[in-house]
């Protein structure tokens, strides 16, 4: 059929309504429908949706004590929901107006400490009552109906006819024969796709330029300072103690990988001291300095147990022995904490002799190569 056909449509060209879905409106006239009860209409519609009502347990008998009781219950629960909701509004809007201020004070145990719990309690109770009321209503007052609906795994007819439409269009396009178009389409798709994701290239940065992963703010002559910026002399610390120090550069105490632990060993620890190969002169007297950034996942290793000379990372429990060059002795870490070479400047304050000689923090693919 073409568009120039003189008899388009199911009505043969006449300007009247055509068949609807080939279905219900032809089966039932308005008069027939008007003669049916509401229940029959409901079931008829369900029937057209492949649903059969198997049986209905009517709700409680109207006027029976059971019905009255259920109505009372549901009504009370809904009323409670409304009441709690109003109370929520009162607490929310009234605080700081006719109720005490809601701003929380750390020292106070009064209204401001109750404000958030009250909001939660009232909103929670209100919404729970709405939900419970609805469920009670359904269970106690609505008729219980058991229905069964047919299930179909789809229609072979639909698949075959739809397939014919698709394949027909593909066939008419001639793409199977017209190879040049197919190939140029491939090139076009690939090119346009690639072009559209190209701007993501803006995210790419070269991690190997300037070795940002392998360097910190430590450098020759940089003083070791505390978090508040004060420098440290030998003798400031008790034997056995640990202090977190930072490079004396602007923002040094906020650097992600510069944090360092300055440890004053006890005399017996000094005797046991076994520095790593090549790190023999990194200590200064009984002072050693290790990176605070765990070589496992980068958490700050913070828990120092001086009796066992162990430093524990609280994130994944790697343990490092400070007398053995901070070698990992337990847990998932694989590498020792890098050691900072120490010295003392003319004014008697601790300085670094250089940056760490290896990358600080978690291991990565080409760490050994930089």
């Amino acid at each position: 059929m073409t568009t120039r056909d003189t008899r388009p449509g199911s009505t043969g060209g006449a300007d009247v309504p055509g068949e609807l879905y080939g279905g219900p409106d032809d089966d039932y006239t308005p008069e027939q429908l008007a003669a049916m009860s509401r229940e029959d209409l409901d079931r008829l519609g369900a029937h057209y949706d492949h649903v059969e009502i198997l049986h209905v347990d009517a709700g409680p008998e109207p006027g029976s004590p059971m019905e009255k009781r259920a109505i009372r219950q549901v009504g009370m629960v809904f009323a409670a929901a409304g009441l709690f909701a109003f109370l929520f509004v009162v607490v929310y809007a009234g605080s700081g107006w006719f109720l005490p201020d809601w701003h929380w004070q750390v020292t106070e145990g009064g209204w401001s400490a109750l404000f958030t719990p009250l909001l939660g309690l009232l909103m929670g109770l209100s919404l729970l009552c709405v939900g419970v009321g609805l469920v009670l209503f359904t269970k106690k007052l609505l008729p219980h109906e058991t229905a069964v609906q047919d299930k179909h795994d789809g229609s072979h007819f639909d698949r075959v006819t739809t397939g014919a439409t698709f394949v027909g269009a593909f066939h008419n396009s001639g793409l199977a024969r017209r190879k040049l178009i197919t190939r140029s389409l491939l090139l076009m798709g690939g090119g346009v796709g690639l072009m559209l994701i190209m701007p993501l290239g803006g995210l790419i940065k070269n991690p190997n330029k300037g070795n940002p992963l392998g360097t910190t703010n430590w450098a020759e002559g940089v003083r070791l300072v505390r978090n508040d910026g004060t420098p440290i002399r030998p003798g400031d610390q008790q034997p056995g103690s640990l202090e977190t120090v930072f490079p004396a550069v602007p923002g040094g105490n906020r650097q992600a990988d510069a944090a360092t632990m300055l440890i004053r060993l006890r005399p017996e620890q000094v005797e046991q001291l076994q520095p790593r190969v090549g790190h023999g002169d990194f200590a200064y007297g009984e002072y050693v300095a290790y990176s605070k950034i765990c070589t496992h996942a980068g958490c700050p290793v913070s828990l120092y147990e001086q009796e066992t000379s162990r430093i524990l990372c609280p994130c994944h429990q790697s343990q490092f022995d400070v007398t053995q060059g901070a070698k990992p002795v337990f847990g998932p870490a694989t590498r020792p904490l890098p050691q900072l070479p120490l010295d003392v400047d003319d004014e008697g304050f601790f300085i670094a002799r250089s940056d760490y000689i290896e990358a600080v923090g978690p291991t990565y693919w080409n760490r050994e190569r930089i």
Partner: protein, 560 residues
């Protein structure tokens, strides 16, 4: 047409009815609407688990949108000057500052933030429990394998939602989490450092990451999740629900309630219950008190820094994995951290996603299934599930090993070793035990079908032998063995299950129904003591002519 509308018999006469009729003449919605209202949903509590996930997502969208009005996802350094006195004058990021101010200086802000956090925990929990229900009942089998795959993708997205969400406040806890995320990215072989620099825009921590996580958290993943939820539900409606086997239930029907009004009312009730529970938790139970953690500082950490529960398994695997760096020629390294994070998580979710295909290959069962299976009837799958679950839960326990060691005064290293050994030997043990339990349950079902329910009634036979009377569930053969075959549905195991007892008279303080009426009604249904007595006579353990008096107290032929 207008003329027909006005004169059509049976056309609505009320104002609303007329308006609705006219509306449909324009929109032509009723065929779709009637089909939707008539759709039958099976009535079983376990089908509501997915709905809980859906409703918590709704809460997350609403409360999350509210939070965006106040949150400033910026890492700009500011000095805190809000109403929480202990932190006044402290330098912090604008993100942490705004998270504090929305907790303390926005009316009801803390409530909303905690509501959001609790709803997030519930969201993932509901997804996981829903997934377990689907897995153990075999609801993922063809044709629902596609929807299973979408579900697993949504689970992964939900986890990413969680991670990007709890990283936002930029407090000490979330910053520690970020640092570990950074280390995990770095640990990926070959592309790790490049991936890290792409995500963080440079070395850790940079100035971009909170802002980037923010847009991923509030726009990118929610949009994808919404689309997938739509698809998930569309497929569900198209394929219709599965159902447990039972009387009248087949592969070609669904037995239950129509959407309107029963199912719609119950589902709406559930929405409000989920909302109510989240609201109550959000107000009453404190969660993530960020003001106690303080601002993020790369040099500080607090002990017992744990992620939210759903990431706990990755924390656990990271804690117990041995220190095994792999050094490759050319001074390249595969960091140990790579295995317990990227590889374990990747393998777990890949296995989960592919499970329907794996099972199809192993069993050769490629048919479509709409009837569910009881876990006991598929012992291998159930045992595999128990094995995976044990693995997951044990990793989660290992994720809290420092807290356990602290609270129970156990050596931390012993806990780590317990984690390492347990994760290898516990899953196979769980497999064997579950498999045996499944077989035992199967056998008991068969036994009751064959020999009847134990009534607890001991009877002495004329020649002095004592037997226990068994109540057969249906017709029996000449040896007294039940003829009913197992149909995949629960088998009644107690007399009460088959009407051995009358139901209680309704009423709390005083009866609200007539006891005599109930007695009659129950008798008509064959319930209650009197009815049971009648029936019991027909099924006593009396020997029939020629038969052995008793073989282990088996039921004999009925008398009449």
């Amino acid at each position: 047409m207008a003329a027909r509308t006005a004169t059509a018999p049976g056309a609505p006469t009320t104002k609303i009815g007329k308006a609705a009729y006219e509306f449909d003449e324009r929109m032509l919605l009723t065929p779709w609407l009637r089909r939707t209202l008539n759709k039958v949903y099976p009535d079983h509590w376990s089908f509501l688990l997915g709905e809980i996930a859906l409703y918590s997502f709704l809460i997350l969208l609403l409360s999350g949108t509210y939070l965006t009005f106040f949150f400033d996802a910026s890492m700009r350094e500011v000095v805190y000057d809000g109403s929480y006195a202990p932190l006044r004058g402290v330098e912090m990021s604008a993100a942490y500052d705004s998270a504090l101010s929305l907790s303390f200086d926005v009316r009801g802000g803390l409530f909303m933030r905690q509501l959001h956090h609790w709803a997030a925990l519930l969201f993932v929990a509901a997804i996981v429990v829903h997934l377990l229900r689907i897995f153990f009942t075999g609801a993922f089998r063809r044709p629902r394998d596609t929807n299973w795959l979408i579900g697993v993708v949504m689970l992964v997205l939900a986890l990413l939602m969680g991670v990007t969400g709890y990283s936002l406040p930029d407090d000490l806890l979330s910053g520690t989490g970020l640092r570990i995320i950074s280390a995990i990215l770095l640990s990926v072989p070959v592309i790790g450092t490049w991936a890290h620099f792409a995500v963080f825009n440079g070395d850790f921590v940079g100035e971009q990451i909170i802002g980037r996580f923010y847009i991923v958290h509030v726009l990118l993943i929610p949009a994808i999740l919404l689309a997938l939820i739509g698809l998930h539900l569309l497929i569900l409606v198209k394929q219709k629900h599965t159902q447990f086997p039972g009387a009248g239930r087949t592969e070609h029907n669904v037995v239950g309630n129509r959407l309107f009004p029963t199912f719609a009312a119950k589902a709406t009730g559930l929405i409000f219950v989920v909302f109510g529970v989240c609201a109550a938790l959000g107000g009453l139970v404190q969660i993530n008190p960020i003001w106690l953690w303080g601002p993020y500082n790369p040099a500080q950490v607090s002990a017992a820094s744990q992620p939210d529960w759903y990431i706990g398994f990755l924390d656990g695997s990271t804690r117990i994995f041995p220190p095994w760096d792999i050094n490759l020629p050319g001074d390249y390294t595969v960091p140990a951290l790579f295995w317990p994070t990227v590889v374990i998580a990747g393998a777990m979710f890949t296995l989960l996603a592919l499970y329907p295909i794996i099972e199809r290959k192993l069993t050769g069962d490629t048919a479509s299934h709409h009837l569910l299976q009881r876990p006991r009837d598929v012992p291998v799958r159930t045992a595999l599930g128990a094995m995976g679950l044990t693995f997951y839960l044990w990793l989660m326990v290992a994720g809290g090993n420092d807290v356990i060691a602290d609270k129970f005064d156990i050596s931390l290293n012993a806990m780590t070793w317990a984690g390492r050994i347990g994760v290898v030997i516990l899953p196979p043990i769980a497999y064997v035990i579950t498999y045996r339990i499944c077989l035992g349950l199967q056998q008991h079902d068969r036994e009751v079908l064959e020999h009847g329910i134990e009534t607890g009634v001991i009877r002495r036979l004329p020649h002095g032998e004592f037997i226990e009377v068994h109540q057969p569930l249906g017709p029996v053969d000449e040896h007294g063995h039940g003829l009913l075959a197992y149909g995949g549905a629960p088998v009644p195991k107690r007399m009460n299950h088959i009407g051995g007892a009358r139901r209680a008279i309704r009423g709390f303080f005083r009866p609200i129904e007539e006891p005599a009426q109930v007695e009659l009604e129950q008798r008509a249904e064959g319930r209650g003591l009197a009815a049971a007595e009648d029936r019991e006579l027909t099924t006593s353990g009396r020997p029939s002519e020629g038969g052995r008096p008793s073989e282990g107290g088996r039921p004999q032929e009925p008398r009449d």
